[in-house]
């Protein structure tokens, strides 16, 4: 209890500190606060991070635009552009750690490195477009500066909080400007114009819905209080309207105007009340009668962002499928047989012939609804892609998460998006759980263009049901939901969920545990985050020494051999017993990657050159919103040790 208070006091102090900084320099951007070397290091750090996160050729224009914009934003001379260009094209990456240290030592940041994150968020939002890649970059830089990623979320939330708080005040301002123009204009139009004036005179399409004017009204206040000074400079309204979708109502307002293709039902349900600068869309794989009769049921504990949606699609068919699955498992195939099946599948000698005849005789129960849903999910995925591409959700990062056929929807959504222009920077992370899709890496390659953060494939080797329904399509021997997707990319993360998922139905029933296992935040995690005092208080203390020198930090990070892949989350000092679970993703996906976090820490102090190579390949130093949870939120997961064993076992395979 005392600890809790300690934490809340600490958090409060930090908030105050940020506010005070704002108060002292109301409209002062970091660009003016930091000295030239500091700004140079800041830009260089971003450049190097860009090169390491988005080394692909097709991303080069994004990289260059971003860095050129940043150089201007920081009021650095154009003379630094050649060097920045070199950094963003992957040269000089070995200096990243040094730049981070230099930046942390800057007196302006000494107690409050989060200023950099804040500045980056402001910079990224200035055009009214929160690119998913920018968010991934911000996460990465935040991580490099040893700032807990929660800070970023707090920051993003504070942007929106200030919107809500200042709503009244803002409407007063609107009122004032309304009065000014009263004589000239008709009453109906006042509000609109008043709002536009706040934003700097840009009259934009605010007529669309309810949310946009509300958001716009707060634009002026964001500028001062949340430290996003630059947002207000020109067209705050335009920025915010654009971020949240000019239509205001956003995704829930989306109605399928006519039947698209073979789709009968397609609608977004709101899972949470809040608004956030990034959103999560969950997609359910099937429905059953009873507890899991609704699309939202499996996601009740998820809290990845405070604005979450759930896609409702083809309930008729999904219900049919769910009931078929249910009757198959609870009626036709007894428990013993199921266990036997599980091990048969695990042994990996499955061919069409080894299926027990008892199962084959009832196959028609499942095959038909399954086949229908397979087709429908592909169509729905394509439709979802079009919606996301047309930015119905606003210009902000989207995280997609789905299980079973829902994962298939995501798969086809990504596939469709990859074929379109301007598909980059929309999707932040995707999580596919038990996906009934092609698991061959070459089909997943294209997704790296679409997804900025991570592509998480959660699979279960013993999922005999998935194996069974796929028995006839011999062409697709590799199913993503049954095995890792061997794609060599920092984004690809495979997670063996075999210890959590005993059968395909568990994807729905065990969603809470699975979410924690793959690093998606849940309500419990959020509570834990706030309630668990030790990480935060010690991290507050630790930040100070980090700024001064790294010796102490090294002590804390290298002290625990067991959790070496955790070491780089040093600012999130979770007690070691809870750490193992997150080893899993690195252990599984790319063995060489799993070495990296350790080597990073080692290289930080002992072997600086070692940093050079691993940085660009490793998925971990891009702690996007999903990744950063790994450190802190695994604690509640009961199966952590099992998972680790599984992971180790996996590695042997």
């Amino acid at each position: 209890m005392a600890e809790e208070q300690k934490w809340s006091r600490w958090a409060w102090r930090r908030l105050r500190m940020a506010e005070e900084t704002d108060a002292k320099e109301p409209c002062e951007l970091v660009g003016k606060q930091l000295g030239e070397p500091g700004r140079f290091a800041y830009a260089a750090l971003c450049g190097i991070s860009l090169a390491c996160l988005f080394p692909e050729k097709e991303q080069s224009s994004f990289r260059m635009e971003f860095i050129e914009g940043l150089v201007k934003w920081l009021e650095l001379s154009d003379a630094v552009l050649p060097a920045m260009t070199a950094f963003t094209s992957g040269l000089g990456g070995e200096g990243a750690e040094t730049f981070a240290q230099i930046l942390l030592k800057d007196p302006v940041l000494s107690n409050n490195p989060v200023i950099i994150t804040q500045d980056l968020v402001s910079f990224s939002l200035k055009d009214g477009y929160y690119d998913a890649r920018a968010r991934v970059l911000i996460c990465h830089v935040t991580w490099l500066l040893r700032i807990p990623l929660e800070e970023l979320e707090v920051l993003e939330e504070s942007l929106l909080e200030s919107l809500k708080e200042q709503k009244e005040e803002a409407s007063e301002t609107a009122e004032a400007s309304r009065r000014k123009k009263e004589r000239k204009r008709k009453l109906r139009r006042y509000l609109m114009i008043g709002l536009a004036t706040i934003g700097g005179g840009t009259v934009i399409g605010l007529t669309g819905g309810l949310a946009a004017p509300l958001v716009a009204a707060g634009a002026a206040t964001i500028i001062g209080s949340a430290g996003a000074a630059a947002l207000g400079s020109t067209a705050g309204i335009a920025i915010l309207a654009s971020l949240f979708g000019a239509a205001g109502a956003g995704l829930t307002g989306y109605k399928m105007k006519k039947r698209v293709g073979a789709i009968e039902e397609f609608e977004f349900l709101s899972l949470t009340e809040g608004k956030q600068l990034h959103i999560t869309i969950a997609i359910t794989g099937w429905l059953c009668t009873g507890k899991y009769g609704s699309f939202t049921a499996p996601w009740s504990s998820m809290l990845q962002s405070s604005e979450q949606y759930c896609l409702a699609w083809e309930s008729k068919y999904l219900m049919e499928l769910g009931n078929a699955l249910d009757s198959l498992l609870n009626g036709f195939v007894n428990m013993m047989a199921q266990e036997a099946l599980k091990f048969t599948v695990l042994s990996g000698i499955v061919t069409a012939l080894t299926w027990p005849t008892s199962l084959l005789t009832v196959a028609n129960v499942i095959d038909n609804p399954w086949g229908v849903c397979l087709n429908r999910s592909a169509e729905v995925g394509k439709h979802l892609a079009q919606i996301l591409l047309s930015r119905q959700q606003g210009k902000r990062p989207v995280t997609l998460i789905g299980f079973s056929l829902g994962a298939r929807v995501i798969y086809f959504c990504l596939k469709e998006m990859a074929q379109e222009k301007d598909c980059e920077g929309i999707i932040e992370d995707v999580v596919l759980l038990g996906a009934p899709v092609e698991g061959e890496a070459k089909y997943w390659k294209a997704f790296t263009k679409v997804v900025s953060g991570r592509i998480i494939n959660g699979y279960c080797r013993g999922d005999w049901l998935l194996s069974f329904v796929y028995r006839t399509s011999s062409a697709q021997l590799k199913v993503a939901g049954l095995q890792p997707v061997i794609l060599d990319d920092r984004r690809m993360v495979n997670m063996d969920l075999s210890s959590v998922v005993n059968g395909h139905l568990d994807y729905m029933k065990q969603m809470d545990t699975i979410l924690k296992a793959v690093g998606i935040k849940t309500k419990e995690c959020r509570l834990e985050e706030k309630g668990n005092p030790s990480p935060f208080s010690s991290q507050g203390e630790r930040r100070q020494p980090t700024a001064d020198g790294e010796s102490q930090e090294e002590e804390s990070t290298l002290g625990d051999d067991d959790s070496i892949s955790h070491d780089h989350w040093s600012w999130q000092p979770v007690p070691s017993e809870g750490l193992h679970s997150s080893d899993r993703n690195s252990d599984l996906a790319h063995p060489e990657d799993s070495e990296f976090p350790g080597s990073l820490d080692a290289s930080r102090d002992e072997n600086p050159a070692g940093l050079e190579k691993p940085l660009p390949t490793n998925p971990l130093p891009c702690p996007d919103s999903a990744a950063h949870v790994l450190g802190g939120t695994f604690l509640p997961c009961p199966d952590t040790n099992d998972l680790k064993n599984q992971a180790a076992h996996q590695g042997l395979d």
Partner: protein, 206 residues
Amino acid sequence: MDEDILTTLKILIIGESGVGKSSLLLRFTDDTFDPELAATIGVDFKVKTISVDGNKAKLAIWDTAGQERFRTLTPSYYRGAQGVILVYDVTRRDTFVKLDNWLNELETYCTRNDIVKMLVGNKIDKENRAVDRNEGLKFARKHSMLFIEASAKTCDGVQCAFEELVEKIIQTPGLWESESQNRGVKLSNQEEGYGGRACGGYCSML
């Protein structure tokens, strides 16, 4: 064109403020001279491909800022450098005296100990010389560096300085072949593969 490039080398230029580091680089890469060249911010970067003894090498040259306020940034660039050009101004004794500090820094931050060092005494076109050529030579010998006097203004010795440095680096195979970055590795891999096959053939004959 790129096919013939043997290796990419990371070269670093360091030295006190105003000794003409950027001018030397500008003369080398663009063959121009600007007497009013502004002070470098942070670091400048240029790429140039040169041919030494029939070997083409791509030079990635990092030209650091000499100003004190950017000194904190310098350690970032040392990592992985194969060659370093240490510049002083022959008309300013203090820039020569401070060379020791630069060597210390080099020692501290450099990740390899066989890095090739080149000492360049710049601005020999000027008349008010304060550091004798022999002094420079002696200092260079003492610290086993290459030495040349040059003038970015008159173009004297600039090309030579870079060429000699690269030549020396290429003559030190361990220095650039160990880098996993480029053709050097691929070449040696091929050779190994070839050697392995030859050995296999020999064994089977027995």
